[in-house]
């Protein structure tokens, strides 16, 4: 193992902002800031049409906040990358099915679930991290497909 590209200060600041946004959302709206669950409710099962509005507002903030980086600091985003659309669609499909089946992703189970000491979320985080490490090991050191 060789450590490269380590950016501890910006990583910590970014992490605290992510946690802060999740805490703010819990304080004001009383809900888990789980991105897959929030967005899924816009397109899939949702109790009432009104229940979609706050979800749309959250995702709009997420997309516009990201757009700021795309405009002013594109090197921190996926803008300059050439990623194969088939590979990305395959990854996206697995993420979609997986987060619907397991009811959450890095934000819902990770940031919020661990924060509220949920054993279910801890099991989820350990599983998806393990699967992520194993998949990346196979991609880079067995299949030699490399990274982007």
């Amino acid at each position: 193992m060789e450590i490269v590209n380590f950016t501890p200060i910006s990583a910590l600041i970014g992490g605290v902002l992510i946690g802060g946004a999740s805490a703010l959302f819990m304080l004001t709206n009383g809900k888990i800031a789980g991105i897959s669950g929030i967005t899924k409710g816009i397109v899939a099962a949702c109790p009432t049409p009104q229940d979609r509005f706050w979800r749309i507002a959250f995702v709009l903030g997420l997309v516009l906040g990201g757009a700021g980086f795309v405009l002013f600091q594109p090197s921190l985003t996926a803008a300059p990358l050439q990623m194969h659309p088939v590979q990305m669609a395959f990854g996206g499909l697995l993420v979609g099915v997986g987060t619907a089946m397991g009811n959450g992703c890095t934000s819902g189970h990770g940031v919020c679930g661990l924060g509220r000491r949920s054993p279910r979320s801890l099991a989820s985080v350990l599983t998806f991290m393990g699967a992520g490490f194993a998949t990346m090991f196979i991609m880079t050191h067995v299949l030699n497909t490399g990274r982007f």
């Binding site: 450590i3 992510i18 706050w54």
Partner: protein, 164 residues
């Protein structure tokens, strides 16, 4: 109106955190997941920083009877560590490594109009809808009465709608 504004602002700050932390860059994410190669430990600090804040703040927030803008705290009630939880996390982890994106950073990257990002978002959305449709068909086929089917489908939808 206030709940929509606070939702928007939460999403906005969340995205600023994602951008700062480097999580919007799939190379950085894959660099973290590649333990055995050239390893970039940054994302451990992103997660550590974020969880430290929620871990400390949530207990204080839950001392309140209700959220600041009214309503009730809407938290998952399920405590089962079951096959869908683990199977779903496995699929998610594999897709995360293949694409270098989890749902938040993917959506924050939509404005790049990068074809790979857009393909990911369309496929993820398809995956959500497909999973729910197949699960509902499966629940219906296993129920013995229409009434039981309706109740099971309703329970499934409720569970899918509480965000966790």
């Amino acid at each position: 109106m206030k709940i929509y504004l606070s939702s928007f602002v939460s999403g906005l700050i969340f995205a600023i955190g994602l951008g700062f932390s480097g999580m919007m860059d799939p190379i950085k994410v894959q660099g973290f997941l590649d333990l055995a190669g050239k390893w970039d430990p940054s994302l451990a600090l992103v997660m550590g920083g974020a969880v430290t804040v929620t871990f400390l703040m949530f207990p204080l927030i839950f001392k309140r009877k209700a959220p600041l803008l009214g309503g009730t705290f809407n938290l998952p009630t399920s405590v089962k560590i079951d096959k869908p939880l683990i199977g779903g996390a496995l699929l998610f982890g594999i897709g995360w490594a293949i694409s270098g994106l989890c749902p938040g950073p993917a959506l924050a990257n939509v404005a790049t109009l990068n074809i790979g990002v857009l393909a990911y978002v369309v496929a993820m959305t398809t995956g959500w809808i497909a999973y729910q449709k197949i699960a509902v068909m499966d629940i219906r086929s296993h129920a013995s009465t229409p009434k039981e089917a309706q109740k099971s489908v309703q329970d499934f939808c409720d569970e899918q709608c509480v965000v966790d």
